[in-house]
């Protein structure tokens, strides 16, 4: 039987072929990492270079080499564009990595970082801060903090409802949908009541990387993003096993509950941080993990870094487009790019 199958599907010498091609995906994976890194650097350079105010290559070079340039140019580049591009990198990477974790934990290709309450909770938190004009002493907006708290609270409620003693994926998703619907209703009531604030809330919900966001926001978000991403990297192995189902993972020596909780916590931290800082940028967390999977296959230990880079790349470019198109919300751009691609994935799946 083996002989028949072997002769039909793998030509003679398939053993040696197997030995070679087993190592070639490794090389291909590293290759993907290399070109994606290069592309991110290039895109970042473009992101700093282009915008509503034209900056010539000469000025760019002068700034890099530390020569004297016009202070206004300097401010635009270092205080506005650079943090903005770095924020795009952080947010894109965070959303994509979070998406990989969700798809691994929930074993569902439709899972995305917003599925279990992050978006609805974040929106309600931000909506309340905007509607009531909440500020920290000293006039700093409380929107990010409220969005962050709202997102974490919503996920906490979902987890409590679904029960963490024995994680049941269906319950988690259903609880997420229910809590999301409830919080959205709350937000709707709030917006009807404070209808003059509706445009501001709506604009926030579409997501943006535009100023007034700057270095303070980036520096505030960075540690959370670093911790969340680090935890995902540490748990990449268990995450990869977990996609075979909790029972199989258990029999392979993984504590599925511990791994699930760690991954969910890290993915939630990443998504909540991005939502708090940039509002709701859709489709990155849903589509980029799929793209990464198409590039390097289903091994999540490889998908995670590739998706991280691809997410950063996508969001830098999307933000560049948003900027050049007259500051439309970047969430709109990602939706324009992501929705057709997602449709393409679905149709491809069906024809396969």
């Amino acid at each position: 039987m083996d002989l028949i199958d072997g002769s039909k599907l793998a030509p003679a010498g398939s053993q040696t072929d197997g030995g070679r091609s087993a190592s070639s995906p490794d090389r291909r994976w590293l290759l993907h990492l290399v070109w994606l890194t290069a592309a991110v650097i290039l895109a970042a350079a473009l992101g700093v270079r282009y915008g509503t105010v034209p900056i010539s290559n000469r000025i760019l070079w002068h700034i890099i080499t530390g020569q004297k340039v016009e202070p206004a140019m300097r401010t635009i580049l270092l205080q506005m564009r650079l943090p903005r591009v770095l924020l795009a990198i952080g947010a894109g990477a965070g959303l994509a990595a979070s998406g990989v974790a969700w798809q691994g934990v929930l074993r569902n290709p439709l899972a995305d970082p917003y599925l279990i309450g992050v978006s609805a909770g974040g929106a309600l938190g931000a909506g309340m801060a905007i509607a009531f004009d909440l500020q920290w002493p000293g006039g700093v907006s409380a929107v990010p903090a409220c969005a962050f708290a709202g997102a974490l609270l919503a996920v906490g409620v979902v987890l409590a409802l679904a029960g963490t003693r024995q994680m049941r994926i269906e319950r988690l998703i259903l609880a997420g949908v229910a809590v999301g619907a409830f919080l959205s209703a709350c937000l709707a009531v709030l917006l009807v009541w404070k209808s003059n604030r509706m445009p501001a809330v709506y604009f926030w919900m579409m997501g943006s990387l535009a100023p007034p966001r700057g270095w303070p926001d980036l520096l505030r978000a960075a540690p959370y993003l670093a911790v969340g991403w680090g935890v995902l990297l540490v748990f990449a192995g268990p995450m990869n096993v977990l996609q075979l189902g909790p029972e199989r993972a258990h029999s392979l020596g993984i504590d599925p509950r511990r791994a699930q909780l760690a991954l969910i916590a890290a993915a939630t931290l990443l998504a909540s941080t991005v939502v708090a800082t940039c509002g709701m940028i859709g489709f990155v967390g849903l589509v980029v993990p799929h793209m990464a999977r198409m590039l390097v296959g289903p091994d999540l230990r490889r998908t995670l870094p590739v998706a991280t880079l691809a997410g950063a790349l996508l969001l830098i470019l999307a933000d560049l487009i948003a900027r050049l198109a007259g500051e439309i919300p970047v969430g709109v751009v990602t939706a324009f790019l992501g929705a057709p691609f997602f449709l393409f994935l679905v149709l491809r799946e069906r024809s396969a």
Partner: protein
């Protein structure tokens, strides 16, 4: 260790003592005492919901026991660190649902998880070797580079086994490993499991196909009604009584002519209250390909047999949901089958004999019919002489049947008559053949006769 409460390490890989298993603290099965020794292939059988999967999940440590203890080698199961346990015991749940894009080699490599350092990437040389060995043992080496999505169900299952073997376990627990496979896939997988047991693994598998389980397992454990109802060699565990009690189904236990393993044949069509007329058809070798579906479609309560279990008519009858009496493949008709056929013949209104070849293997059918008083219809052509491979004995039996009033009809004539008879209930429209032509106004419109009248007619003279 107190004697009796813990197993001796040498004899048993995995054991349960006074175990009660269930989900959410409610016991589904209790008082389980179970041992799995190296080299054993144990089949866990029982009706749906009997707690087989729950038991397996408890033995693997996925579920905690409701009561009692599980020992792996010389230690209690909860005393193991997960990775240490995973190097001794592996468990294949029912629907693992791997991504189709995984290549076989990638998936089997995941089986090394308990052996590689946690949080490490890649595979070492010894891992590579273990993966190659696992693929080889599971007979999956040829597909190593193929994505899972291109494999058949049986090949996939082999890959899962290879992945489990990459853990280098001593115990393999598998939940319904054959349930989604076709016949060749099932046999293939059972052979693989038997082979692994032969190599020294202790294998425990939940199986639903009792015949498959009886053929391959060294031991069967029967779960039902919250208890272990039987534990021992297949022949000891599978009895007509135990199956009736556990499954609520009447079966006939035969024995495979070559392996001697018990073989289950469901008793169907017996003792079933009937409103329509009953016909028994003797067929085989494709001779029933028109008769079976037509008669079944007409609404007759049809039974077919005794057939070889691999006969094409057997498959056809199964497709038409017509109960059959079957014999193990290529075996002569057994005493039990003859007895069952006799039971059926007592309750039918007519017997139809299709133009099938008769040889020593199925001659007993004719002999059984010759001993009854049921109206018999012999379908010809081809004539019996053309298909008598029993050295003339079949022809003699045909002649005897004809002398006793059996009618010889072509297939079309027979179908037309039985079709006509469906307009009225068979029993009421008795044509009373064989008594007198005058009492049956239309001899030409002969319909299957009424057995009581027939008897009276025969006993009369």
């Amino acid at each position: 260790m107190t004697s009796g409460s813990s197993p001796s390490a040498a004899a048993s890989l995995l054991s349960a003592r006074n175990l009660a298993v269930g989900r959410g603290g409610r016991a589904v099965v209790r008082d389980i005492d179970f041992d799995l020794a190296p080299g054993e292939l144990v089949g866990l059988i029982g009706p749906n919901g009997a707690g087989k999967s729950t038991f397996l999940a408890t033995l693997s440590g996925v579920l905690e026991p409701v009561q009692g203890r599980v020992f792996l080698l010389d230690r209690e199961l909860p005393g193991y660190r997960p990775r240490a346990r995973a190097r001794i015991l592996t468990y294949l749940p029912q629907n693992p649902g791997e991504d189709d894009a995984f290549t076989v080699a990638q998936l089997v490599a995941i089986g090394r998880t308990p052996h590689v350092r946690p949080f490490s990437f890649g595979t070492s040389r010894s891992d590579e070797r273990a993966i190659a060995v696992a693929l080889e043992r599971a007979g999956a080496s040829a597909w190593a580079d193929r994505p899972l999505g291109t494999l058949s169900g049986g090949q996939r299952q082999r890959v899962r086994i290879a992945m489990a073997l990459a853990q280098e376990p001593m115990v393999l627990l598998a939940d319904e490993p054959t349930s989604a496979l076709d016949l060749s896939g099932q046999l293939d997988l059972m052979l693989l499991l038997a082979d692994l047991a032969h190599q020294g693994l202790g294998v425990l598998a939940v199986l639903h196909d009792l015949n498959l389980a009886a053929q391959f397992c060294t031991r069967l454990v029967l779960f039902s009604d919250g208890r272990i109802q039987g534990d021992g060699p297949p022949a000891a565990v599978l009895s007509e009584e135990s199956i009736a009690r556990a499954y609520g189904v009447a079966v006939q236990i035969a024995h495979h002519p070559r392996s001697g393993a018990p073989y289950l044949l469901p008793r169907i069509a017996l003792n079933r209250p009937s409103r329509s007329s009953r016909i028994h058809l003797v067929a085989g070798g494709g001779s029933g390909r028109r008769l079976i579906p037509k008669l079944a479609d007409m609404g007759y309560e049809l039974s077919v047999g005794v057939l070889d279990a691999m006969d094409s008519d057997q498959q056809l009858a199964a497709d038409c949901r017509v109960p059959t009496l079957t014999e193990a493949p290529f075996a002569p008709i057994s005493e039990t089958s003859v007895r069952l056929l006799g039971d059926i013949l007592e309750t039918v209104d007519a017997v139809v004999v299709a133009p099938c070849p008769f040889g020593p293997g199925n001659l007993l059918n004719l002999e059984a019919i010759a001993q009854t008083s049921v109206p018999v219809y012999l379908v010809a052509p081809p004539t019996i002489a053309e298909r008598d491979f029993s050295g003339g004995r079949a022809t003699m039996l045909y002649e005897q049947l004809e002398r006793n009033g059996a009618r010889v009809l072509s297939e079309d004539e027979l179908l037309a008559r039985f079709q006509a008879a469906t307009t009225r209930p068979l029993r009421e429209s008795l044509p009373d053949e064989g008594t007198s032509a005058s009492s049956a106004p239309s001899r030409s419109s002969v319909e299957p006769g009424h057995r009581a009248a027939e008897r009276g007619a025969r006993e009369g003279p």
